[in-house]
Amino acid sequence: MTTENLALSKAITRALHDEMTENPKVLALGEDIGKLGGVFRVTDGLQKEFGARRVMDTPLGEAGIIGTSVGMALRGYRPVPEIQFDGFVFPAFNQITTQLARLRGRTNGQYEIPVTIRLPYGGSVGAIEHHSESPEAYFAHTPGLRVVTPSSAHDAYWMLRASIQHPDPVIFMEPKRRYWLKGEVDFSDTDFNPFCAATLREGSDLTLVSYGPMVPTALAAAEAAREDGHDVEVIDLRSISPLDIETICASVAKTGRLVVAQEAYNFVSVASEISAAVTERCFYSLEAPVLRVGAFHTPYPVPRSEEEYVPGIDRILEAIDRSFAY
């Protein structure tokens, strides 16, 4: 059987399992990932199968986790460190941006640093402060890093495998509120390319671009827009860096309208970059300005008011209406 119905989190577990089985140089490390199987149980069972050397419960220090991962990579290993939550990646920010991202360049290609950082991210899980952040733009901004984020179990499985196999460092961002989203994983899809966007729904009137946890919301908004007579095309970026701007522009050339929906703050964001890039490349195809739907420029609020903050279907529909109003 080549397909199986899995929750997104279990697809990640399976990808880690399969990479570790195929390559003895693949290692997993992080806080509570061994015995406990991670706070989201994504690494559940792996330490039992591969041992405590390959699935390490590390001391509590994010700079140490990423810094030692870099060192292991120098020595030919493929570490897959986990950062427990989005809001706790910043103690490792220096290691990620000044070291991990730049060592290949700094050594004129004498070294490859194939580290894949697993980073559960995003909100709408009712969590206390610092457990609901969307820090992708910080990393996408940094040359030398690749940043990818799946929205389905199938993509999660193949994107993680491709990330671990890739010679460049990858920030693998896991949409934690979609961990329990089930989907078919096709294990025969070996040519999967994680760095190109996927058109999840074809449409002729407006292009709606999204990624990660916001993708199911975007699909639902497209469905709702159909009732208003709008035929919306939905694109899942999958990769934030590199950004598959060709696929977006090809769609905009067809529809003439673009809305980008994300959970992150709009200001200086992935949506901002897409707006600029599309304006530069297909200005004459546009019937309306590119519109962004994202978080407000305030810190993530308390969980009891996060519904006001994280864009839902209605905020996307409002932007779609605004686009058609031009």
């Binding site: 003895p24 290692l27 050397r53 590390t58 001391p59 220090g61 700079a63 140490g64 990423i66 810094g67 030692t68 991962s69 870099v70 060192g71 292991m72 990579a73 120098l74 020595r75 030919g76 290993y77 570490p79 103690p91 220096n94 290691q95 000044t98 070291q99 290949r104 360049g105 700094r106 050594t107 004129n108 290609g109 004498q110 070294y111 490859e112 040359p143 030398g144 690749r146 890739h166 010679p167 460049d168 760095f195 860096s241 590199p242 950004l243 598959d244 701007i245």
Partner: protein, 396 residues
């Protein structure tokens, strides 16, 4: 202002655990016996000491040349190693070619001892290359400018050496890393890692995390801190109330405090530490007490923060003078030896000057090649723009 320690405090009576300072050769070049450490340098004879002197002296001359080149506008910056040569050369005497050495940015004597050519090294500060030497051949990591950021890398590398050993046992296959120089059959001692940082850097959080990780995983790594008393303008007492070697105990690892201007003491301490590390007993921290005789860099002005008296006092304790005294008093080296070394140093300096004046960066486009291992859309788009932009000028 941080408090001055009273003699009582620094004696270890108030802060227990302050370690005695290891010395083997005193300032007059006389030998002091140490029951534990002297045996580690018992075999260091005339040839080794002359070689140590040669490395220190050639580095000193190169250092002066580099400072002059910077003044003449040929370099972006220069960070002199003047005064720290014994700490660096002495530690190199305890390392093997298969050991992976991770420097900070002032380890010029160490680089030379590892076989790096100064004609290459100078390109880093000239601003024409970031890794101007063959890293894997010398097992000498590139300089790191973000203080302490290299230290967890060294720990991770050392952890990986332990993984290698386990893989070698289970698979029978020799682990080659990314092609770093590995031990020959004759000298098959297990490889380890040595990482260098300064007294100022010791305050960075990454040092703390590195020590914890190294201790928890029993990583074969030597932490070598050159306490040169200054972090640019900030004196050591602002970083710590106690010698840094005292901190080792807090991590459950052995600490050693050594006179960093005594090449024999540093060599002995490093050999002792590496023996322990290689035999699987985990990390060791060596603090070499030395002094930065020069400015922090050519952009610095030490007259603003330290006295001439202090500088003069330390100049008397110059590690080169000490070793020269020893070699002369014991008639291990005659005038022709010193003249020969000076001549070589002069040659190296001229060669550096010749190379520095013409060292240019690689073709700009290599920047696009090295940012990623495989093509990245945005980088490739910029490369295309760069080419077209330049082609536009050619047409005109």
């Amino acid at each position: 202002m941080p408090a001055e320690l009273t003699p009582e405090q620094s004696s270890g009576k108030i802060y227990p655990g302050v370690l005695p300072l290891l010395r083997i050769m005193d300032e007059e070049g006389a030998i002091l016996e140490d029951g534990t450490f002297s045996p580690y340098v018992q075999d260091v004879g005339e040839a080794e000491l002359k070689e140590a002197y040669r490395q220190m002296k050639v580095t000193r001359r190169f250092d002066d040349e580099a400072t002059a080149l910077q003044r003449q506008g040929q370099m972006s910056l220069w960070a002199p190693s003047r005064g720290q040569e014994a700490a660096q050369v002495g530690s190199a005497m305890g390392l093997l070619p298969q050991d992976y050495v991770v420097p900070s940015y002032r380890e010029h004597a160490l680089a030379f001892a590892r076989g790096v050519e100064f004609t290459d090294l100078v390109k880093f500060f000239r601003g024409s290359e970031t890794s101007p030497w063959d890293i894997k051949k010398h097992n000498f990591h590139p300089y790191t400018v973000v203080l302490a950021a290299q230290v967890p890398h060294a720990v991770g590398y050392a952890m990986a050496l332990n993984f290698d050993r386990e893989l070698e046992e289970t698979t029978g296959e020799k682990q080659m890393g990314q092609g770093q120089f590995s031990a020959s059959e004759e000298n098959a001692q297990p490889a380890a890692v040595a990482v260098y940082f300064g007294d100022g850097s010791s305050t960075e959080g990454e040092i703390h995390e590195s020590m914890v990780f190294a201790a928890s995983y029993n990583a074969p790594v030597l932490f070598f801190v050159q306490n040169n008393q200054w972090a640019i303008s900030v004196p050591f007492k602002t970083q710590s109330r106690v010698p840094l070697s005292t901190r080792a105990a807090g991590y459950g690892i052995e600490g050693l405090r050594v006179d960093g201007n005594d090449v024999l003491a540093v060599a002995a301490a490093t050999r002792y530490a590496m023996k322990k590390i290689r035999s699987g007993e985990g990390p060791v921290l060596i603090e070499a007490e030395t002094y930065r005789l020069g400015a922090h860099t050519t952009a610095d002005d030490p007259t603003k923060y330290r006295t001439g008296e202090e500088e003069n006092e330390y100049a008397q304790r110059d590690p080169l003078i000490r070793l020269e005294k020893y070699l002369r008093h014991n008639k291990l080296a005659d005038e022709s030896f010193f003249e020969g070394v000076d001549q070589e140093a002069q040659q190296v300096a001229s060669e550096v000057r010749r190379v520095a004046l013409v060292a240019e960066p690689a073709e700009y486009e290599t920047n696009f090649d090295f940012a990623y291992a495989k093509p990245h859309t945005q980088t490739e788009n910029d490369r295309r723009f760069y080419r077209e932009y330049n082609a536009g000028f050619e047409e005109e």
